[in-house]
């Protein structure tokens, strides 16, 4: 049921002919219910449009994201939430047919600008993927890879320090401290995902994107990751795409509901789940579709 592979995501949208009639026209923000702005925003997305092969996948989405907040993005499969997430670190660049329009400011720099170098951007905006994807290297090398390519450590001692600290922050250090040189792929699913989080933290990002980080994990491992997200929010801005409404309710302060490429409603998590304003949000929350 977790059909959130990006390409599939958008095929679903393309297939629905009534998309155009349902989606708001450009620059018409009135359709998003709730307050998209926050005080002292960290990230400002303005009028983001994403196209695949000239078919629209994200339609005119604007939203602010505040400092040290956890924003959950929810919605039925194919609503474009993963696609939208991948705009924040320009991961959509890797898909040839994908075009992103609009403005996305991180620290007053428009990261969608062609001139922006994606390499430092991706160091600043880390990403955790749906399926744990540790490199087929040792646990240590997995975490050390980012700091190494960015030249963050001057010597081995500093590198060791970064690796250990990141593993500690990801709550994995105690479990793997005796086997830092075993392959990362030999860990359990939940440990692998925490290793990926450690790998992301190691390059000292400001924002962490999480694309359904628990969809491939069992409930116990999921709980452990959710706990971790809660702790991480102290230091990072986190945007998480999730399929599970309970998870959104547990980890986030704000929730954004997407439907067929549009941002339908945004608001504090309590409010969205208790008193949704939009009919679509309500139907989704009450389980009428999903």
């Amino acid at each position: 049921m977790y059909n959130t592979d990006v390409m599939n995501d958008n095929k679903n949208i393309i297939d629905s002919d009534d998309l155009i009639s349902q989606t708001p026209s450009k620059l018409d923000n009135a359709k998003t219910v709730g307050n998209i702005h926050v005080e002292d925003p960290r990230i400002i997305a303005k009028n983001i449009n994403v196209y695949y092969d000239n078919k629209i996948a994200i339609n005119n989405v604007s939203i602010d994201i505040g400092k040290n907040e956890v924003l959950a993005m929810i919605g039925p499969s194919g609503c474009g939430k993963s696609t939208f997430l991948r705009c924040f670190n320009r991961m959509n660049d890797t898909i040839e047919s994908c075009i992103v329009e609009g403005e996305l400011y991180l620290d007053n720099e428009n990261i969608l600008d062609k001139k922006t170098d994606v390499v430092p951007l991706r160091a600043k905006v880390g990403m955790v993927f749906q399926k744990p994807n540790p490199f087929p290297k040792s646990v240590y090398d997995n975490v050390a890879y980012g700091p190494k390519i960015h030249g963050m450590a001057k010597n081995k001692i500093e590198l060791d320090e970064i690796v250990i600290k990141s593993l500690e922050k990801a709550g994995l250090y105690e479990e793997v401290k005796d086997r830092l040189d075993t392959p990362g792929t030999s860990l359990s699913g939940g440990q692998q995902q925490r290793l990926c989080i450690a790998r992301t933290i190691a390059v000292n990002p400001e924002v962490i994107l999480m694309d359904e980080p628990c969809s491939a994990l069992d409930p116990i491992a999921t709980a452990r990751i959710e706990e971790l997200i809660y702790e991480l929010k102290e230091n990072f801005t986190i945007i998480i795409v999730t399929h599970s409404m309970q998870q959104a309710a547990r980890v986030s302060q704000r929730t954004a509901y997407f439907h067929l490429g549009s941002l339908i409603e945004v608001g504090s998590t309590d409010k969205i789940f208790t008193t949704p304003q939009h009919k679509l949000t309500e139907s989704y929350i009450t389980g009428r579709f999903g």
């Binding site: 991961m91 390499v119 991706r122 160091a123 390059v203």
Partner: protein, 419 residues
């Protein structure tokens, strides 16, 4: 329902055809192996005759100079003649004596010369030495010549047979491991010919092939798989080209080598350098195609993970995709190299087919290759060469089996890494 019986009979017959075809294919395979092995295994032995050689001072160094430059001009053949005549004192007459001397290979002279070169002090002494027998004697001892045939139907006449039987009863004719076969180049005399020259020619050519085709093939695969724009007509054209090149007959590559490398660039004829270059063009498509397959098998999530922590496209590919794909790429390369090792047609065209006695010392020396040596020997009717042809084939097959086993091992490792 009574046609059910017929239908089931048909079913059984169909199944039988399947089994028969497999059995036929495997039978042919075993006939091939058995015939080559049964003809070739005797070539790993050579027949030698032990003679008491008296290194006479008067023949080798009458002025007692002990100077190699003087001694090397001496006639060592006389020593062999004297020795074998002593063994058969009752043989008389020039032609009989000459026939007697012919039991020993013409290389005997060189063997003695080499011995004295290293032991100049041995002049004046007598020593028992095992000398290589003539190829006809060798064939007789190995049982390839039937002793009970009438005299005019075998290559060893009655006199010779009598002498050999004397040697046998004296136990001074014996089979040894065939060192000559592995340590010398081609020769007009089968007992003196070996595969070292051809083997080195193949080695030189394959080194050139590897040096050229491995980096270029892998670079091409990496470009096409990771960096080339998708849905681009030009890139499609490159791909169609590569697929077609993989199926172009090998002799066409030889024509290319002849016209461009030899005539246009004026590179040396018959050289492993050109052979290797031609083979590398032939091997490239194999390496490219298999490298691409193994890169495709690397889960894209690994690359995404690297991009996600801020690796550039090149870093992600070279740090993560390529290392995982390398065993798979090596598999393809080894299979390509194995094919190049067995290939002969393009080498014929660029002149790597000649009677070359000298062992090649570099990639520009004229040389043959192992399969070409097989081709050349196969053309020679003498029984001694037939045996050596089969033996050379056995050596070639052993190399191929080793290379392919390595490829299989690497592929299994690759598959384990991927999962």
């Amino acid at each position: 329902m009574n046609n059910l019986k017929a239908r089931l009979a048909k079913e059984r017959r169909f199944r039988l055809y399947g089994i028969l075809s497999i059995a036929l294919a495997l039978t042919l395979l075993s006939i091939l192996f058995i015939s080559i092995f049964s003809q070739g295994y005797t070539a790993f032995q050579e027949t030698k005759i032990q003679l008491d050689i008296n290194f006479e001072q008067s023949v080798l160094d009458p002025k007692k100079t002990k100077d190699w430059d003087v001694v090397k001009k001496a006639n060592f053949n006389i020593l062999i003649k004297n020795s074998i005549n002593e063994l058969f004192p009752d043989v008389s007459g020039r032609s009989q004596k000459r026939k007697l001397k012919k039991l020993i290979s013409t290389s005997g002279e060189y063997q003695l010369r080499n011995y004295i070169k290293n032991n100049i002090e041995a002049i004046g002494t007598t020593k028992k030495m095992w000398l290589l027998a003539d190829d006809d004697v060798d064939m007789l001892i190995k049982g390839h010549i039937n002793r009970s045939l009438p005299e005019n139907e075998r290559r060893i006449d009655n006199d010779e047979l009598k002498w050999i039987e004397v040697l046998e009863t004296k136990k001074i004719i014996k089979k040894f491991f065939n060192k000559t076969f592995f340590t010398s180049g081609d020769s007009a005399e089968s007992e003196q010919s070996g595969i070292l020259g051809a083997l080195l020619g193949s080695l030189f050519a394959l080194s050139i092939t590897l040096i050229i085709s491995f980096p270029i093939g892998i670079a091409t695969a990496i470009y096409l798989e990771e960096f080339a724009p998708k849905n681009n007509k030009f890139i499609d054209f490159i791909e169609v080209n590569i697929n077609n090149l993989a199926a172009v007959p090998s002799i066409i590559f030889g024509l290319l080598g002849l016209a461009i490398f030899l005539n246009f660039f004026e590179l040396p004829r018959s050289a492993p350098l050109v052979g290797g270059m031609v083979l590398s063009l032939m091997t490239l498509p194999t390496i490219i195609i298999s490298s691409r397959v193994s890169m495709k098998a690397v889960p894209p999530s690994i690359k995404e993970g690297a991009l996600g922590v801020g690796a550039s496209e090149i870093q992600a590919v070279f740090h993560h995709v390529v290392p995982v794909a390398i065993p798979g790429m090596l598999t393809g390369t080894i299979i390509g190299m194995a094919r190049a090792l067995g290939e002969s047609a393009p080498l014929l065209v660029i002149g790597m087919v000649a009677f070359i006695v000298d062992i090649p010392q570099s990639v520009t020396d004229p040389a043959t290759a192992l399969p070409i040596q097989i081709y050349l020997w196969a053309d020679t009717p003498e029984r001694g060469f037939v045996e050596r042809t089969s033996a050379a084939i056995i050596v070639l097959l052993i190399f191929l089996i080793l290379m392919n086993s390595l490829a299989v091992y690497l592929r299994q490792r690759f598959e384990k890494d991927i999962n």
